[in-house]
């Protein structure tokens, strides 16, 4: 398959994730949609690595994987802390930092 197909799939996945981040209200699902966006970017990185025949893009994708894991850990920790303090699990209600 041509590399363009992979890039198209990665763009679609990224856009689905972006739409989900904007339209969902449950912070857990927002984290999942962030994962989708990161995965779309990862697919593009790996596709470009294949296109150029270099492995640097794959290393970059691995680092993105690590960053995503770190982000998930902190995000889930935040959600558990919210739950412990009996705050609503809803990003529309959590607007104390609105300014």
């Amino acid at each position: 398959m041509a590399i363009g197909w992979y890039l198209a799939v990665s763009a679609i996945i990224f856009c689905i994730g972006a739409g989900g981040v904007m339209s969902r209200r449950n912070p857990l699902v927002i984290l999942l949609c962030l994962e989708l966006m990161l995965n779309g970017a990862n697919l593009a990185l790996v596709a470009f690595a294949r296109m150029w025949g270099g492995e640097d893009g794959q290393v970059f994708a691995l680092i993105v994987l690590v960053v995503a894991a770190a982000e998930v850990t902190v995000g889930l920790g935040l959600i558990v802390a919210l739950y412990r303090r009996r705050l609503p699990i809803d990003v529309d209600e959590l607007s104390e930092l609105h300014g």
């Binding site: 763009a11 856009c15 025949g53 690590v66 998930v72």
Partner: protein, 224 residues
């Protein structure tokens, strides 16, 4: 053959992504994401990225998804939240606009490689040996930075998710109160047996001729 595999994996990845966004129950969203990740790993394999695919399945579809499932089980799905009126329209619109823009950018980029099937494949491309050599030589600094980031994330998660007042054991100070003691408790008169004390009445009600109460028999009736 690779085209068929590509379309199967791509449809799986995209349908999994749509499932993550549209399913109302967060638990089903997590399952859809796991499906999406496995399909994506197949796409990585088609792109000759064996190590990334393995890492994807082990780290993401294995560890991170288990973490998600635990948190969903702990927090509970809650009632399904309908998205806000404005964002329900604006979100998908934004996504479609972004998709159109990305397509225009990609088709208009003029990159010759996009139409091709990639660089000629040489054996060993994307294997753990090659990736590991790159990680430990050319990309050593990002590698170490990633390890520090993981450590910080672990510490941060523990700090965020622990109880507010330190460890669970000493969350509440032990409750202490002073019961009002009967008269002459702890005095010499009691020790010498000169005066009957309230404890004697409690312990030997029949000896004192006191009416038997319907209090339960004290279990500790021995003397010294």
């Amino acid at each position: 053959m690779s085209a068929v595999l590509f379309f199967i994996a791509a449809i799986g990845a995209i349908s999994g992504a749509i499932g993550v966004v549209t399913l109302r129950n967060p638990f089903y969203s997590v399952l859809a994401l796991a499906f999406h990740l496995v399909s994506l790993a197949a796409l990585f394999l088609l792109l000759r990225a064996e190590f990334v695919a393995a890492g994807q399945v082990v780290v993401y579809a294995g560890a991170v998804m288990v973490l998600y499932v635990f948190v969903v089980a702990y927090v509970g799905g809650g009632e399904p939240l309908a998205s806000g009126a404005v964002l329900r329209v604006l979100g998908p619109l934004f996504a479609v606009a972004l998709a159109v823009e990305l397509s225009i950018a990609m088709l208009g980029s003029g990159l010759k490689g996009i139409k091709g099937r990639g660089a000629p494949f040489h054996p060993g491309f994307g294997t753990p040996a090659h990736i590991g050599r790159l990680l430990l030589t050319k990309y050593l600094f990002p590698f170490e930075a990633a390890s520090i980031l993981l450590l910080l994330a672990a510490v941060g998660a523990v700090v965020l998710a622990r109880r507010r007042r330190g460890l669970p054991g000493d969350e509440e100070p032990p409750l202490r109160f002073r019961a009002t003691e009967p008269d002459y408790t702890g005095t010499m008169a009691e020790a010498a047996g000169v005066r009957p004390t309230a404890y004697d009445e409690l312990l030997h009600p029949e000896a004192q001729g006191a009416p038997a109460t319907d209090a339960p028999e004290p279990t500790h009736t021995g003397g010294w």
